[in-house]
Amino acid sequence: MAVQNIIKVAARRREATLGFWERVYIFEVVRGLWITTEHFVGNLYYHILKLFGIIKVHPLTPTIQYPEEQRTLAPRLRTLHRLVRREDGSPRCVACMMCETVCPALCIKIVAAEGDKPQIEKRPKSFDIDMGRCIFCGYCVEACPEDAIRMDTGILDIAAYSREGMVLDIDTLLSLQPAQRRTDKEVDELQRRLLQ
């Protein structure tokens, strides 16, 4: 009953909103043309100013000319992964397989090896992330007990000519740098303070 009333009211309102002159349509066409022409003339004015170098940026178009201009990314945005190093340069990863286990897209493959120092039991022999499968959920970052994997490189344009090319190996992942100005040490310090 209530639903039928709603439908009736909606139908009546629709009829009420379309007056005679709107049904004739031709005046509405003229009104629509007026709006688009206003935009046309306004934009054309600034395009001409820009063409003659009087202004540098068109104030009405929100277009970002992508490869040359790039929008600033939020610091917490999840972007391409990287593996964090210890202070001595070796990877922080201890090959605990937490990220591989939690990954819903099954894109992480870790092969463990015995650690080369007495205080490190395991180290990753290889650590591959298939970017063709990754869904950027960030679970691997959350799962990592050593804070060894982060998604803060700011790299979004990940592309390759083959499926194999989309698989990033451990050397590539270790070589990536964070996009932010904060270094690994500063991030560690911040996290320690937040946990206290």
């Binding site: 688009t36 022409t37 046309f40």
Partner: protein, 362 residues
């Protein structure tokens, strides 16, 4: 008139009237991208560059042409090879041949001889245009039929149904204009719009036939098969008659639409907006309605008139492009309703009223 001048002027006129719509169609294909972008607060095509500069996106058009030429020219195995090849040529030919009777200026005087600025001054020019425009539908129908594809055939049938519906309306509308101006020759139609009411108001067809202009323009846009009447093509979702076409043959169908846009703009200008007439400009120069005037050489006057015709046509092309990027597509039943239930009765009423007024005034 001596033979050399005759042949040179004829070839020059033919070249002008062939190059004019083709150039304008080329720029319309460019405007399709750029004007829509400017209307929608975008920037538009600017990636293809020549010598490091995009030249307002015009380089894209050159790239498009190269792409169209080097693509595979595909003919379906079960299709009719001859008709399949003939169809785009028919469509383009009938769109271009109509320009032969469009007066793009009045006359030039060279070496004591006057040259009328019109390729063929037929005394039934306006009928010639619509005869040829009606034959243009064969291009669409043959394209749909010879492809041996159900979707293409349906597109061709939609095209023919739409063209026939709106051609009737166009035919009825021009009768109003012919009654009001009293001639069928295109050049005479323009000359008879050169008078002024009260000494200042130009007697253009749109003043005599305001409703006629509106009906003609709507039906004309339907004739060009572009949005909001692009049911025969509907390239984005419903499939049209040019489904089985690729390469330059596809581009010819695309180009035919732009040439028809120029054609409808040219005919609208000729019938309703004074053709090459400029208000207050006579053979000897400007005569201002408030007295005085400028003496101008007759040949300069006629070159100004040619420029005026080109400018008016360009404006109407712009307007049709603006309409194309403003309105959504009509539903098929709305299209037929508009054609048969609104435009046709209104154009018939227009004829009756015009005929009565002409009878009473004379």
């Amino acid at each position: 008139m001596n033979a050399v001048l005759y042949w040179t002027s004829t070839i020059a006129k033919s070249a002008y009237i062939l190059v004019f719509p083709l150039t304008l169609a080329f720029f319309l294909a460019w405007a399709e991208r750029k004007q829509s972008a400017v209307m929608q607060d975008r920037i538009g095509a600017n990636r293809a560059k020549f010598l490091g500069r995009p030249f307002l996106g015009l380089v894209h058009m050159v790239c498009d042409a190269v792409k169209m030429f080097v693509k595979e020219d595909f003919v379906p195995d079960s299709g009719h090879r001859v008709l399949h090849t003939l169809a785009p040529f028919l469509a383009m030919f009938f769109a271009l041949i109509t320009f032969a009777v469009i007066p793009f200026g009045y006359q030039l005087t060279i070496a004591g001889e006057t040259i009328g600025l019109q390729v063929a001054d037929l005394n039934v020019g306006i009928l010639f245009i619509f005869a040829m425009a009606s034959l243009g539908v064969y291009g669409m129908v043959l394209a749909g039929w010879s492809s041996n594809n159900n979707y293409a055939l349906l597109g061709g049938i939609r095209a023919s149904a739409q063209m026939i519906s709106y051609e009737i309306c166009i035919g009825m509308t021009i009768i109003g204009a012919i009654l009001a101006l009293g001639t069928l020759s295109m050049q005479d139609l323009v000359i008879r719009q050169g008078y002024h009411y009260f000494g200042w108001l130009p007697r253009w067809g749109v003043l005599l036939q305001p409703l006629g202009f509106l009906l003609f323009f709507i039906a004309g846009i339907a004739e060009t098969k572009r949005v909001p009447f692009d049911m025969p093509e509907g390239e984005s979702e419903i499939i049209g008659f040019n489904l089985e076409y690729s390469s330059m043959k596809f581009a010819m169908f695309l180009f035919t639409d732009f040439i028809e846009t120029v054609l409808i703009a040219a005919v609208t200008v000729t019938l309703f907006f004074g053709g090459w007439q400029i208000p207050w400009l006579f053979e000897s120069g400007f005569v201002w309605p408030w007295g005085g005037g400028w003496e101008i050489h007759p040949n300069v006057v006629n070159i100004l008139r040619m420029a005026a015709f080109a400018a008016k046509v360009t404006f109407f092309c712009w307007l049709m492009m603006a309409i194309r990027w403003t309105l959504p597509r009509f539903r098929y039943d709305q299209l037929m309703d508009l054609g048969w239930k609104w435009l046709l009765p209104l154009s018939l009423a227009n004829i009756v009223v015009t005929a009565l007024v002409v009878l009473l005034v004379n």
